[in-house]
Symmetry: C2
Subunit: 327 residues, 2 copies
């Protein structure tokens, strides 16, 4: 800006006026300034601007588990979309379920003075955010609640979903329904396990410890688990999968197996309807989740200071016929 001013033979303040379309600059001066800007390839430094104006940095921080997972990339897309409408950029990072990494990312974003934070919690401790929140940075937790702070949260109906999954299977005559879930210290995994248990009880088929296998899972652990479930005295005839990754592992493990158990997966995924058999899922909308959370965040930025809200988005069972019938 200094260089531009020198080249145009004016003061930097005048350049600033031109750049900001402020009135009170003679057209011919403005033209000279614009020419200089063009010639030097000047672009105003947004950091300096925001620093000086003490205004918003125009950024939103997004901490999620893994952008590579289609579910979270759907969330990211929705967040980006709304942020764009409100003139914000999104800075994002993946925690990989590591609470330390989550914290590191969140605090880094705070140091960058993001206008707000969207967090898919990896850990259970979020008191590290209290100073920031007190200082006025709105924080919305996504998909999972915060461990030890009260804040806006957007969840999906994990319990209701798994209850429905079990009910669905039981209504087709299944009595031995297994549950493969993620690591039990993950909120959603635990909730879904609770839903599974409740569903079993409600359906009158009882809860049997040996039908449950919590993760962390990988392809081979799923394979082993399925073998165990199959070789029991009373084998499982149906499976509820705790998330999209586990569903895929199960599908891989079952490929080519003649006697397939019925399967209902939590999280919808692309092509689920084109597999044979198509996969029944408990669907919830990644972009709805992202949108709800971002809307909440912007409401806070717009001055809403009502008590923290907890939004629970509905899920719906999408029956596609993955083996339920021939139980």
């Amino acid at each position: 800006m200094n260089d531009v001013a020198r080249l145009a033979g004016v003061s930097i303040k005048t350049v600033s006026r031109v750049v900001n379309d402020e009135p009170g600059v003679h057209p011919s001066t403005a033209e000279r300034v614009l020419a200089a800007i063009d010639q030097l390839g000047f672009r105003r430094n947004l950091s300096a601007r925001n620093l000086r104006r003490g205004s918003s940095t125009g950024t939103i921080g997004l901490v999620l588990e893994d952008v590579g997972n289609p579910f979270y990339s759907g969330v990211t897309r929705a967040v980006e979309e709304i942020a764009r409408l409100r003139g914000r950029q999104v800075i994002s990072g993946s925690s990989d379920e590591d609470p330390g990494r989550e914290r590191e990312l969140a605090l880094e974003f705070c140091s960058r003075r993001v206008d707000g934070l969207l967090i898919v919690p990896a850990g259970l401790q979020h008191s590290y955010l209290v100073p920031e929140m007190r200082a006025g940075t709105p924080v919305v937790f996504l998909d999972r609640p915060a461990g030890d702070v009260v804040a806006d949260t957007v969840l999906v109906d994990n319990i209701g979903g798994t209850v429905e999954a079990v009910t669905h299977l039981a209504s087709h005559g299944h009595r031995r329904i297994a549950f493969l879930g993620d690591a039990p210290d993950i909120f959603t995994a635990n909730e879904r396990l609770r839903g599974y248990r409740e569903g079993c009880v409600r359906a009158g088929i009882g809860y049997h410890e040996e039908l449950v296998a919590m993760g962390p899972h990988d392809e081979s652990s799923v394979r082993t688990t399925l073998q165990r479930l199959h070789s029991m005295r009373e084998p499982a005839t149906a499976i509820v999968a705790g998330n999209n990754r586990i569903t895929v592992y199960i599908l891989r493990a079952l490929a080519g197996v003649a006697e397939r158990p019925a399967l209902v997966g939590f999280d919808d995924f692309e092509l689920a309807d084109l597999l044979s058999p198509p996969v029944t899922v408990i669907a919830h909308d990644a972009s709805a989740l992202g949108k709800a959370a971002t809307d909440l965040l912007f409401a806070r930025l717009d001055g809403d200071n009502s008590p923290p809200r907890r939004v629970v988005l509905p899920v719906r069972l999408v029956p596609r016929g993955s083996g339920e019938v021939h139980a």
Copy 2:
């Protein structure tokens, strides 16, 4: 920082020293400062720091087509990964194939003084980046080349891939091979069309205009196209799909159809192997693409100023048996 200094009864410089772990602060003073920092929930302002130090902002800008597309979210993940290792945050945005939006995003990132830019070009004009590049911001183009500037570029072997796809189908006896590609003004779409044409010529089956349908495509246009291809006097017996979205549209359109043409899709996708029939694809690695581009970017940041490079990543045909055999 001012407040911290006042509370601790020291100068702001001393606070700065403590925050930056600089030597020459008496332990007891440091302790007082740390206590004040803790009490006030102080977090240093990274923008101000970077402004003052004139150093890197520790950010990388990533402009892609759509984070929601699994291919690009794979790229994003890889970029993030490497950026993390090098202590950078990623700011990303989706252009949706809109050149204006691409430009807007890229320039916004420049205003934020990103250390480098990774761009999946939506348009053909990138001279708007020349001032930035001359000012020292490294730019790497990803997946598609820049229109009118010379810069580092990482591509995949689009032509080789489609040639191989056609060759593969022809070797199974197909002579009427169709091509459904994206809008022809998209570089990759055009390249793949060229590959298709070349493959046809090489295979001695000739290039027939009526077997080609370039996009933009949606589910219904694909459906219509397939009907047209099927009801020709000499129907197409095989299809090459120009990208993962089109492949999925085709799969949807073909669901339940008895006489399916053979299919080879460009871009691998999850579950392709579990469909029936499994889908043969030309695979290339999103994360390899992201990694190669980011590595190139960091090489530039490390001072490499050799002439711009163009890296072409290999693709490989993954035969899965999507109908090639019963031609």
